[in-house]
């Protein structure tokens, strides 16, 4: 079946947005810090913290520092890009195009996901080099695949955050407040089972919680994470990510309509 004109335009818009995100990234030296330099620092500090704890703890160093760098790049970057559209005044001309804004956001999210993965890979290399021996992995293939899937789960939340930035210029304020709680609450730095029991239901609303727990199960032998284990973690991660992507699709249509009603597109 040949793609329709509308779907071709949408995929073109997605790739145009991805291309512009890469060009803007390359052109702006400030991105070097979160994407290239911060992962090196996170990796070194994390390794120093865990190095006396045995070989498997090297993985804690990698996962903690890797998530720290990926989390910011992917989740925060996706929302922030839309906030920047407001700041630059490009939200209006972009929304005046015949393509739904969601596809523009998707293009950026793809780039943020890739650059987040790059940050994670840098952490892995830095810790592995500091360790001086091969990093032990229980299931290397699952580890790599889940590492990438964690990014997708983070990106799905990032898309919903982007919608908030379209909705209101105050989204950055809300995101800044929720940043640390989200980071800890989803288990980016340490497993959510270490958090108070009452906070677990809140954590489980977010796809990265499930994906990160699955990743730890795949990487670390004897890991004691969420009680239902690896399989259900995986199901939960896929399901919640799909729910977030579906929410994003619906929310964007409504948010686009809302901002045209309110007339705050040029506010920043």
């Amino acid at each position: 079946m040949r793609p329709t004109l509308a779907s071709r335009n949408r995929s073109r818009s997605l790739f145009a947005s991805l291309r512009l995100a890469i060009l803007s990234f390359v052109a702006d030296p400030q991105w070097l810090v979160p994407s290239m330099i911060a992962p090196v620092i996170f990796g070194l500090v994390s390794f120093e913290l865990f190095k006396g704890s045995g070989p498997w703890f090297v993985l804690y160093a990698i996962l903690g520092a890797g998530m720290m760098s990926m989390w910011g790049q992917t989740l925060y970057g996706s929302g922030w890009a839309t906030g920047q559209d407001r700041e630059l005044g490009t939200l209006e001309p972009t929304l005046s195009a015949p393509t739904p804004y969601l596809y523009v956001v998707l293009g950026r999210v793809i780039w943020n996901t890739v650059s987040g993965l790059l940050g994670g890979a840098i952490v892995f290399v830095v810790v592995a080099l500091s360790y001086g021996r091969p990093v032990p992995l229980q299931d290397p293939l699952s580890f790599v695949l889940l590492f990438a899937f964690v990014m997708v789960s983070l990106a799905s939340v990032g898309i919903v955050f982007s919608a908030a930035y379209v909705y209101t210029r105050y989204a950055g304020f809300v995101q800044n407040i929720g940043e640390f709680a989200f980071y800890v609450g989803t288990g980016c730095m340490f497993p959510v089972v270490l958090l108070p029991f009452w906070s677990n239901p809140i954590s489980l609303v977010f796809p990265p919680t499930w994906a990160l727990d699955a990743l730890r199960y795949a990487a670390i032998p004897g890991y004691q994470g969420l009680p239902w284990g690896f399989g259900w973690d995986l199901v939960g991660a896929v399901a919640t990510t799909c729910v977030y992507l579906a929410i994003a699709g619906t929310v964007f249509v409504r948010v686009e309509r809302h901002v045209l009603e309110v007339g705050n597109l040029s506010d920043y």
């Binding site: 060009l23 005044g89 490009t90 209006e92 015949p98 393509t99």
Partner: protein, 327 residues
């Protein structure tokens, strides 16, 4: 020029609501448009004039699908701006003035390429089309420079290039020459005329009266959210009292003298202004018969009397209409 309207609005209204107060519980409502009825014919340059805050940008954004009206209807190229926005957008272009609205870190060419993809400009002709519009706005040499290095005028040209990139049938221009030097502004006006020659309909808002006078076939004056006049410039001249504007200046006038001025044939008294010790009356004159001698005769005894005449300009018309609305 076909007479079929490409824009029709009926009783178009827009109310903005802003929340204020400590808990944002106080709602402040501002009526930006208060029942706008408008028709714009295919192939014309239609000018919209009005003071700051009159509702010009609000109307432009509604017609270009970037804002929804609170009530009323608006159709552009036969599409309902509320229901058919996605179908309408590829066929219209929008140029909002100012320094914002561009990706500053990348080049002008990359900005255009991005929007060309968003607007579905055919891939096979995209690069050629980008080169064409860059040449049309005289940005070919700066095409690969980052936009952050551009002057305000260059950014304005790039806005214009983006607006015409996808060859729209209808172009909305919100103060397109703001920030341009006189030469660039003249080239922009030439470009606008060229677009009309290519069959594009232009909806232009501007604060520059000479620009509207030079470009527009028909003009509407918007004041406090209402269209207070809509006609050709000639028709607007008739509306405000005549083709001729005569300024009469002296060191004060007696009431009886002012009465005599008002009773002169074909005269409408437009306004009175003080210039230091001197007072100036501006008269709009409908008839060719009234001579300067007749005015001097009505004000005999004023040795220092000055009488000057000029053709009633759009600025005169605009000020008459806006001031009348303000009163």
């Amino acid at each position: 020029m076909s007479n079929s309207p490409v824009i029709t609005t009926h009783d178009l209204r827009r109310v903005f609501e802003a929340r204020k107060g400590f808990l944002f519980n106080e709602v402040v409502r501002t009526e930006a448009l208060r029942g706008v009825d408008l028709e714009v014919a295919r192939g014309e340059i239609f000018g919209l004039l009005g003071p700051n805050g009159a509702g010009k940008t609000t109307l432009t954004k509604i017609l270009s699908t970037l804002l929804l009206p609170t009530s009323g209807t608006a159709h552009v190229l036969g599409f309902d701006v509320m229901k058919d926005a996605l179908k309408l957008r590829p066929r219209i272009g929008l140029v909002l003035g100012g320094e914002r609205g561009l990706y500053n870190r990348v080049s002008a060419r990359e900005n255009l390429r991005y929007f060309a993809d968003l607007f579905g400009v055919p891939i096979e002709s995209r690069d050629r089309r980008i080169a064409d519009v860059l040449e049309r706005v005289d940005l070919t040499e700066a095409a690969d420079r980052r936009v952050e290095e551009f002057s305000r005028g260059m950014k304005q040209k790039l806005h214009l290039a983006r607006g015409i990139l996808h060859e729209p049938e209808m172009l909305f221009l919100d103060e397109p020459t703001i920030g341009l030097d006189p030469k660039s502004a003249r080239e922009t006006r030439k470009l606008i005329r060229g677009l009309v020659a290519d069959g594009v309909t232009i909806f232009l808002t501007t604060h520059y009266m000479f620009e509207a006078e030079e470009l527009c076939q028909r003009i509407a004056v918007l004041s406090k959210g209402r269209i207070v006049a809509r006609d050709t410039i000639q028709g607007l001249r008739r509306l405000v009292g005549g083709d001729r504007t005569i300024e009469v200046e002296a060191y004060g006038f007696e009431d009886a003298e002012v009465d005599r001025l008002k009773r002169l044939p074909g005269v409408t008294l437009a306004n009175a202004e003080e210039f230091g010790p001197r007072l100036r009356y501006t008269l709009r004159v409908r008839t060719a018969e009234l001579t300067h001698e007749a005015i001097r005769e009505a004000l005999r005894g004023h040795d220092e009397l000055t009488v000057r005449e000029r053709r009633t300009g759009l600025e005169d018309i605009y000020l008459d209409l806006v001031e009348e609305e303000a009163q």
